[in-house]
């Protein structure tokens, strides 16, 4: 029992959880964009849900508890239901394997390679943190910051949501000019 308590307090369990969640997130991300077994968008959507849930596990490990809950509620709940509804509405056929244009493929690989090399370079210049992180992303602290320092952006975002709602209703009316 003491051994287990020591393990928890030393943070080794957190490290194990980090590797599990990170591997799960990346694996599901790969399966979203290139699934070898199915080309249907529904499978992609399901793996995107899995990726988002494991990413909210990463948020928990970073002590961002409120954001982890919001991530599951908004992304895995609302956004993915919207995606699935649209897939159902469009009634897409099983996607035929189309020929990938050689030029586009090479250009894409070069672009992604460039971004990855830029990332690796910037990662090498990140300094290792010396102080132990003590931040807690609990709801109280976040809400306090949101309603004092960030009140104006908060109101602007609410207007943005209203505009998006009106726009969606206009766009999906039956008769589009």
């Amino acid at each position: 029992m003491d051994a287990i308590n020591n393990l928890i307090s030393s943070g080794a369990v957190n490290d194990v959880f980090f590797y599990v969640f990170a591997a799960l997130t990346l694996l599901c991300g790969v399966l979203v964009i290139a699934n070898p077994f199915s080309r249907s968008p529904v499978t992609s959507a399901m793996f995107l849900v899995l990726a988002i849930i494991s990413m909210s596990g990463l948020f928990l490990l970073l002590h961002a508890f409120f954001l982890a809950a919001v991530q599951i509620l908004v992304y895995a709940g609302a956004v993915m239901v919207l995606f699935l509804f649209v897939i159902m509405l469009l009634d897409l056929k099983e996607e035929a394997r189309r020929k990938i244009k050689f030029f586009g493929f090479v250009a894409g690989i070069i672009a992604v390679g460039g971004i990855v090399s830029a990332f690796v370079k910037s990662l090498a210049s990140v300094k290792e943190n010396t102080v132990e992180p003590t931040l807690e992303g609990e709801t109280y602290a976040l809400g306090k910051l949101l309603f004092t320092q960030y009140t104006l952006p908060f109101e602007i975002v609410s207007v943005l949501l209203l505009v998006a709602m009106v726009g969606v209703i206009l766009l999906s009316k039956k008769k589009l000019e």
Binding site: G11, N14, D15, F18, Y19, L26, G29, V30, V32, I33, A34, P41, S44, A45, L48, I52, M55, L58, L62, H63, A64, L67, V70, Q71, Y75, V79, L82, F83, V86, I87, L89, L90, L92, E95, G104, G108, V112, I115, F119, L123, V126, E128, N129, V131, P133, T134, L135, G137, L142, L145, L146, P153, L160, V163, A164, M165, V168, L171, S172, L176
Partner: protein
């Protein structure tokens, strides 16, 4: 080895590259949209880890705003895709070439 900022940033970068690869290589509009969501999530992860390891809460507030804007963006984008599908009967980028020279 203790898990630190490097590890989280590495995961975030990998996820962003995966999303970019999906946007470039896939031909279905809806899957392209999902890859965009993946890229947004990668940015969120980077912001939250910066916030944690700098002991500042502002990054998490920014992530909160990003999630809200992403939800609005998904709603508008999917409405556009549905309207496009009604007109063209296709959700493939290769069928949408009316602006090609």
């Amino acid at each position: 080895m203790h898990v630190g900022l490097h590890h989280y940033l590495f995961v975030s970068f990998m996820l962003f590259s995966l999303g970019l690869l999906g946007v470039i290589l896939r031909r279905n509009l809806i899957v392209i949209y999902m890859s965009l969501e993946l890229m947004l999530n990668a940015a969120n992860l980077a912001l939250v880890s910066f916030s944690r390891f700098n002991n500042k809460l502002d990054g998490q507030v920014l992530v909160f705003f990003i999630i809200t804007v992403a939800a609005a963006e998904v709603a508008v984008g999917l409405a556009l895709i549905v309207a496009l599908f009604r007109k063209r009967q296709s959700a493939h980028v290769e069928d949408l070439t009316s602006m090609k020279l």
